[in-house]
């Protein structure tokens, strides 16, 4: 029997596994996390008395259902939690489990690696107390912790209001919700967003709730700095009316939307194309998620679409695997799934316009701002390297000359901002700036993981 491996036990991976198990196949489901559910439907530690229904709000039912479905599935799966895929070599996965390296061959590989926050730097963003928006939610859902008592939410994302609502319900004070996209851009994007009215209503409801609670909700802000001596003390910004405003806080959550985690797709041989709406290089896939023979991509790890789209695209990719293995596919199911995935991803494309990545603000950042925090490289160092004779004009070369993106995170945090700095310097778009190539290991691995003998 063909060995089918799914990477990622979020909604996409679980939905795919469900579809394959229903046909009597037994996929291997590898997940870096300790508990299934991915980032959005993350389960709290088992000894934590956290009211997940309250935390998940309108999504509580789906959350409960997904985990119930996973429990049912478990006996028919080869589920391997806390397992990192650190490299892919031909048809072999290189894993790290319990601190030791091991391998797993595959015939079909479905990668549902999820997404992470896209971060725009600003003065002070490396101060203790600054978190990604996703990190702020993980702290809450995984450990029941708040990142601070008085939290400012800054970025350009509908998730700012959602996270603020969760934080407020868990007892945090909200200093401000500050969105860099003007309100007018959101209105202009409304027609496109009507393709997923339920999600739209939910988003508007969060905004309304914030306003009712008296939380300052600002649109069209220009971030100036996160201030603090040794940790976060305030967020300073210019509001849409041009007034400089200072919000005292002890933590800042930064969220400029999500970006797919595509490193594994890269190592597995997917090809990439630039997407001007998201301003990201994304793996090329067909309508069912095929990236190349034997390689399938689903969920937010390939296109940001949210949990519902992830589930549908996971099931759709499983249909592609079944079809490619000669099991035949259910045409009606496939068609419905494809329609849902398309609709939900279009909605996210609309969101990417309503909550725009602030490329002009990034390009205008002062030289002194840290761009790569792993290697402590400033924007000015990148600009200076590019201004030299024979200076680099493409991100991989900029990395080679400056070390920007060479550190622990391998450019996952600084990559999108680096792209905008390079694009602005060469006077081109994000496509011209190029794409940081993926290299193993996808996450740092200790020498000891290799063991002592061959």
């Amino acid at each position: 029997m063909a060995e089918i491996v799914i990477i990622g036990a979020g909604p996409a991976g679980i939905a795919a596994a469900e579809m394959l198990c229903a046909k009597g196949l037994k996929p291997i489901l590898i997940d870096e996390g300790a508990r299934a559910g991915g980032q959005g439907y993350r389960r709290p530690a088992s000894d934590l008395a956290l009211d997940m229904n309250r935390l998940m709000g309108s999504e509580a039912e789906k959350y409960t259902a997904l985990h119930r479905r996973f429990e049912t599935l478990l006996p028919r799966l080869d589920y391997r939690p806390q397992t990192l895929v650190w490299a892919i070599d031909g048809s072999t996965l290189h894993l790290l489990r319990d601190g030791q390296a091991e391998t797993q061959p595959f015939d079909r590989l479905l990668i549902a690696s999820g997404a992470m926050d896209r971060i725009a730097p600003l003065p002070g963003w490396t101060l203790p107390g600054v978190f990604t928006l996703g990190g702020a939610q993980v702290a809450l859902k995984d450990q029941g912790c708040l990142i601070g008592n008085r939290v400012a939410f800054l970025g350009s994302s509908p998730l700012l209001t959602l996270a603020a609502k969760q934080y407020r319900e868990m007892g945090a004070e909200i200093a401000v919700i500050a969105d860099t996209t003007p309100f007018s851009a959101k209105i202009a994007a409304l027609p496109g967003l009507l393709r997923a009215p339920r999600t739209l209503v939910r988003g508007l409801w969060y905004m309304g709730a914030a306003l009712r609670a008296g939380i300052p909700l600002l649109h069209g802000v220009m971030p100036i700095a996160i201030e603090g001596e040794s940790r976060v003390e305030a967020l300073v910004l210019r509001d849409a009316q041009g007034r400089e405003r200072r919000f005292a806080c002890d933590a800042v959550a930064l969220g400029y939307g999500l970006k797919p985690e595509t490193q594994l797709a890269d190592l597995a041989g997917a090809s990439f194309a630039y997407d001007p709406d998201f301003r990201l290089f994304l793996p090329a896939i067909d309508s069912m998620g095929r990236a190349r023979p034997g390689l399938y991509l689903a969920g937010d790890g390939v296109r940001i679409g949210g949990a519902d789209a992830a589930e549908a695209s996971g099931a759709l990719a499983a249909q592609a695997i079944l079809a490619d293995l000669g099991h035949g596919q259910d045409i009606a199911v496939t068609r419905t799934l494809a329609r849902d995935v398309g609709r939900l991803r279009d909605f996210q494309r609309g969101l990417a316009r309503a909550f725009a990545w602030p490329k002009a603000q990034i390009a205008a950042l002062p030289d002194s701002v840290t761009l790569c925090r792993c290697e402590k490289i400033t924007i000015g160092e990148v600009r200076a390297a590019m201004a030299k004779d024979l200076g680099p004009v493409e991100v991989n070369r900029v990395k080679a000359m400056t070390r920007c993106g060479m550190g622990r995170c391998q450019g996952r945090v600084c990559g999108p901002a680096l792209q905008e700095i390079v694009a602005a310097e060469i006077g081109g778009d994000g496509a011209a700036a190029g794409r940081l190539r993926g290299q193993a290991p996808v996450k740092p691995i200790a020498l000891a993981a290799a063991g002592s003998t061959a």
């Binding site: 650190w86 490299a87 070599d89 072999t92 290189h94 390296a101 030299k388 004779d389 024979l390 680099p392 070369r397 080679a400 000359m401 060479m406 550190g407 622990r408 391998q410 290299q439 193993a440 290991p441 740092p444 691995i445 200790a446 020498l447 000891a448 993981a449 290799a450 063991g451 002592s452 003998t453 061959a454």
Partner: protein, 384 residues
């Protein structure tokens, strides 16, 4: 001569090409450096950065020592820094057979005036306590050094440009012909170039030019698998190499450990890629932990390799063509071109301008491949 667009055209903007351009320009030559991609990519940019003098091919010492003097004078010569550090180099032997070999290397080095220090196990433990206790003997050469390969070639190329060298990136050469007593080159963009002398420093892509003029060498592409760890406090000053070739590593002052492992990995010059098989990364990680156990919990953050040109006798081709006056070859540096790069550039400039160089380069003649090639012992060990 009229009609010539340049005195010397150099094909290949790696370290060798850049240094050759620099020294030719200092001698007043009009030089055009042609690079199919960007200067200092592939083996020039991704190598380990070793300026090692111990354990080199005996016939290479005059060239190596001349080259080291140029590295030592880099900042003054070039006017920019490339993170040159005189770190010293420690060679480790793990059994008696290796010890004998180490002693052989030391004698050769000393015969060329290099100071080699013999270090026994007790002394090893005292001076470099982070080493595992398995080493039975070591030699240390204080003059050995390191530099940052990512910076070196672009820096030298910029200096060459300041001296008037025309540097053309993204300028692949599609055809080379004899034209009078010079050469005519056709570029990928359709442009033409006429030159008096031609330098073939095209690395893994150099064979095409040699064969165009009736010469050959069994050159093939490969790359060493390399990795870097996260930074941690600076403790390891010298470059450290196990004489069996299983591991060579160094720590840079900012804290990261850089490692090159063997056997080397296959490379594809057509696709311009030299992927590192994860199994080789693991083997190199094990080897490093064996030599320096304190690094066992150190995290590897990135691996890489690059395309280098190798020859089965593990020594490069350097010198004039034997078929075509005015053509000069410098390729196939077998993973040790970084150290001799400046010296090769200087010697080539002397050959072109003066007709000869004082540095003996006989062993590197391309003519040696007219008869059957010898295969080096090193070659058998460092490839799989």
């Amino acid at each position: 001569m009229s009609g010539r667009t340049t005195d010397v055209a150099i094909v290949g903007g790696g370290l060798i090409g850049a240094w050759t351009a620099f020294f030719l320009a200092r001698r007043g030559q009009r030089v055009t450096l042609l690079e199919k991609g960007v200067v200092g990519a592939q083996s020039s940019g991704v190598n380990f950065g070793n300026l090692r003098l111990q354990g080199r091919f005996p016939g290479q010492y005059p060239l190596s020592l001349r080259s080291q003097a140029l590295w030592e004078d880099f900042d003054a010569l070039i006017g920019e820094d490339c993170e040159f550090e005189q770190t010293g180099h420690l060679y480790l032997a793990y059994d008696e057979e290796e010890h004998v070999k180490l002693e052989g290397y030391a004698k050769v080095s000393e015969s060329h005036g290099l100071a080699i220090e013999r270090v026994g196990p007790a002394e090893l433990k005292r001076r470099w306590p982070w080493l595992s206790e398995r080493a039975v003997a070591a030699t240390y050469s204080a003059r050995d050094a390191t530099a940052n390969p990512r910076l070196a070639t672009p820096t030298v190329a910029r200096a060459a440009a300041r001296l008037g060298v025309e540097i053309r990136e993204n300028a692949g050469v599609t055809a080379v012909e004899r034209s009078g007593d010079g050469f005519a080159l056709t570029l990928a963009d359709g442009g033409r170039l006429h030159c008096g002398a031609l330098v073939n420093s095209a690395g893994a892509w150099a064979l095409e030019i040699a064969e165009r003029f009736g010469e050959t060498a069994p050159v093939f592409p490969a790359g060493p698998p390399q990795f870097v760890t996260e930074p941690f406090p600076y403790r390891i000053e010298p470059s450290v190499q196990a004489i069996d070739g299983s591991v060579i590593f160094r720590q840079i002052p900012r804290g990261n450990i850089i490692l090159a492992g063997y056997p080397r990995t296959a490379a594809d010059p057509q696709a311009n890629r030299a992927p590192v098989p994860p199994a080789k990364t693991l083997a190199a990680m094990r080897a490093l932990a064996r030599v320096a156990p304190l690094l066992a919990q150190c995290h590897v953050i990135r691996v890489w390799s690059g395309i280098e040109a190798y020859l089965p006798d593990m020594i490069p081709v350097i010198g004039p063509s034997e078929t075509t006056p005015g053509l000069f070859h410098a390729f196939g540096f077998c993973g040790h071109g970084f150290q001799i790069g400046p010296g090769v550039g200087l010697c080539l400039s002397e050959m072109i301008v003066d007709g000869a160089t004082p540095t003996p380069l006989g062993p590197f003649s391309i003519g040696r491949f007219r008869s059957e090639a010898t295969v080096s012992e090193k070659f058998r060990k460092e490839f799989d």
